[in-house]
């Protein structure tokens, strides 16, 4: 019994040495919860070893918040106030997704795009993109979107188009931004490229809302003779 116990202790010690000193990558500690209301849920995801799933669920909750707002909250979408006052928890909820999964680029891009182009909060969008870049400096598309938001803030739509047109080439471009790009192109009278964007959305996007919007817009353009 004593020999077995001693050998087992030795094995535990060896395993602890491996855990401590054998180099390898780990996710950063999850840290404090950006949104206290979801603290228990996020903690459960960490404890279950399911941070990515936790981030996925957090992203879906972000989408639902974006789509429907919160009736108990001032600044909901039904308000007549300016867009910048809508959905006040949007930034913390976006940070929540990134805290759980720093590699969830699509979520960060969606959140930054929504903040920058829909909710008129470009500074928050830039802050989020900066945090994303710090977490993963190799994902250079963050800088592309930061450029688009910065020019949006400076009210230079031509430069915004240049950056978003480049972003379109990459698979993570959110459907909502493709739609915004197409609208900008239509305003500029560039219906050919606008139609190209809508066709791209229909072929590649998995967001039923974005696909549906693109289809309707393309049909409308066809009826108006602005697209084939």
């Amino acid at each position: 019994m004593k020999v077995g116990g001693a050998v087992a202790a030795g094995l535990f010690l060896a395993s602890a040495v491996v855990a401590r000193w054998w180099p390898g990558t780990s996710l950063p500690p999850a840290g404090g919860p950006p949104v206290p209301a979801y603290a228990v849920q996020d903690m459960a995801a960490v404890l279950a070893g399911a941070r990515r799933v936790g981030a996925d669920v957090a992203f879906i909750q972000l989408l639902q918040y974006f789509g429907g707002g919160d009736a108990n909250e001032a600044g909901g979408k039904d308000n007549t106030g300016p867009r910048s006052t809508w959905l006040p928890r949007f930034l913390p909820m976006s940070r929540r997704v990134a805290a759980l999964n720093p590699e969830f680029h699509a979520a960060v891009l969606f959140a930054a795009g929504s903040l920058g182009f829909v909710l008129d909060r470009p500074d928050q969008a830039l802050s989020l993109l900066e945090e994303g870049t710090a977490a993963d400096p190799t994902f250079w598309e963050y800088r592309l979107y930061a450029g688009a938001v910065a020019y949006r803030k400076n009210q230079d739509p031509d430069k915004v188009i240049v950056f978003l047109w480049e972003a379109l080439k990459y698979p993570d471009c959110p459907g909502i931004l493709e739609n915004i790009l197409a609208n900008l192109l239509k305003k500029r009278g560039d219906f050919r490229r606008a139609a190209e964007v809508y066709r791209h959305t229909i072929q590649t996007s998995r967001d039923p809302f974005s696909v549906d919007t693109a289809r309707r817009q393309l049909d409308r353009m066809r009826r108006a003779g602005l697209a084939t």
């Binding site: 019994m1 077995g4 116990g5 050998v7 087992a8 202790a9 094995l11 535990f12 010690l13 060896a14 395993s15 602890a16 491996v18 855990a19 054998w22 390898g24 990558t25 780990s26 996710l27 950063p28 500690p29 999850a30 960490v46 404890l47 279950a48 070893g49 399911a50 941070r51 990515r52 799933v53 981030a55 996925d56 992203f59 879906i60 989408l63 639902q64 999964n101 590699e103 969830f104 699509a106 979520a107 969606f110 993963d136 190799t138 994902f139 993570d172 959110p174 459907g175 996007s205 998995r206 967001d207 039923p208 809302f209 974005s210």
Partner: protein, 255 residues
């Protein structure tokens, strides 16, 4: 070795005939429902969500089945006295424990592999392109299942009831993912005693965060190979320790 292999074989058959495949069926049902649901609500992240959920569900189901199986693996045989006909034969008690454990593990990992096939099928129907890093998640899952099952087996022989064994196992499983956070807390703690206590606890806590490769998917520059080597070394040492303790406890058991 002959005795171990003989017991492995019968244990494997026992698990399969005890309808372990129902877990695979449950998994297929969950994933089918999830793929319909998330297609509607996850926007462009549909594929990511189904991929993450599928991996997590396969691991969770595998862990549940392995832990519940390990807790009852030896206890049930002792209570039903099926073990008597084995232990009155020239079979070392350690061989019995190891054989039962390996048989259970083989069956559970087979079930997890089947779940993987179901998952890949659903993903490919959604237009997913297979990647090596996805398939790398499964060896890590196997290592995690092995470690948690060995913890469950130890507690089944150490604790006084099945309920307490399951509770302890669940406690270790949850805290096993919290290793980095616990280490962070121990460094920040002002109490020397508390910090020492946490450090001592970390010594025996399974570091399941080392075996959760699926959370590192898509991180650039992170190669699965070296992490798998580290995980395999860790799992082998930790599981070996648990099995040795289990065999030692069992060798002193009286019937």
């Amino acid at each position: 070795m002959n005795a171990v292999w003989t017991i492995v074989r019968v244990t494997f058959l026992q698990q399969v005939r005890n309808k372990l495949w129902l877990a695979v069926l449950l998994y297929a049902g969950i994933m089918a429902a999830a793929s319909l649901l998330f297609g509607a609500v996850a926007a462009d992240a549909e594929l990511t969500v189904i991929l993450d959920l599928g991996l997590a569900a396969a691991e969770l189901l595998g862990l549940l089945v392995a832990a519940m199986g390990a807790v009852t693996l030896v206890l049930e045989e002792m209570e039903s006295k099926t073990a008597y006909l084995i232990l009155t034969r020239p079979v070392p008690r350690a061989s019995y424990v190891v054989g039962r454990f390996l048989g259970l593990l083989g069956a559970v990992l087979g079930a997890v592999a089947l779940m993987g096939l179901v998952h890949v099928g659903i993903l490919m129907l959604k237009g997913w392109e297979p990647s090596a890093s996805y398939f790398a998640c499964y060896p890590f899952m196997a290592l995690k299942v092995t470690v948690v099952a060995s913890v469950a087996l130890f507690f089944s022989l150490f604790a006084t009831s099945q309920a307490s064994s399951v509770s302890f196992t669940a406690f270790f499983w949850l805290l096993g993912h919290f290793g980095p956070e616990l280490e962070f807390l121990s460094q920040k703690s002002r109490s020397v005693a508390a910090a020492a206590g946490v450090k001592a606890f970390l010594f025996v806590l399974p570091r399941l965060d080392l075996l959760t490769y699926r959370d590192l998917l898509e991180i650039p520059g992170v190669a699965a190979g070296p992490l798998l080597a580290r995980g395999a070394a860790y799992a082998a040492l930790y599981t070996g320790a648990c099995l040795l303790l289990s065999a030692t406890l069992f060798s002193r058991r009286e019937f």
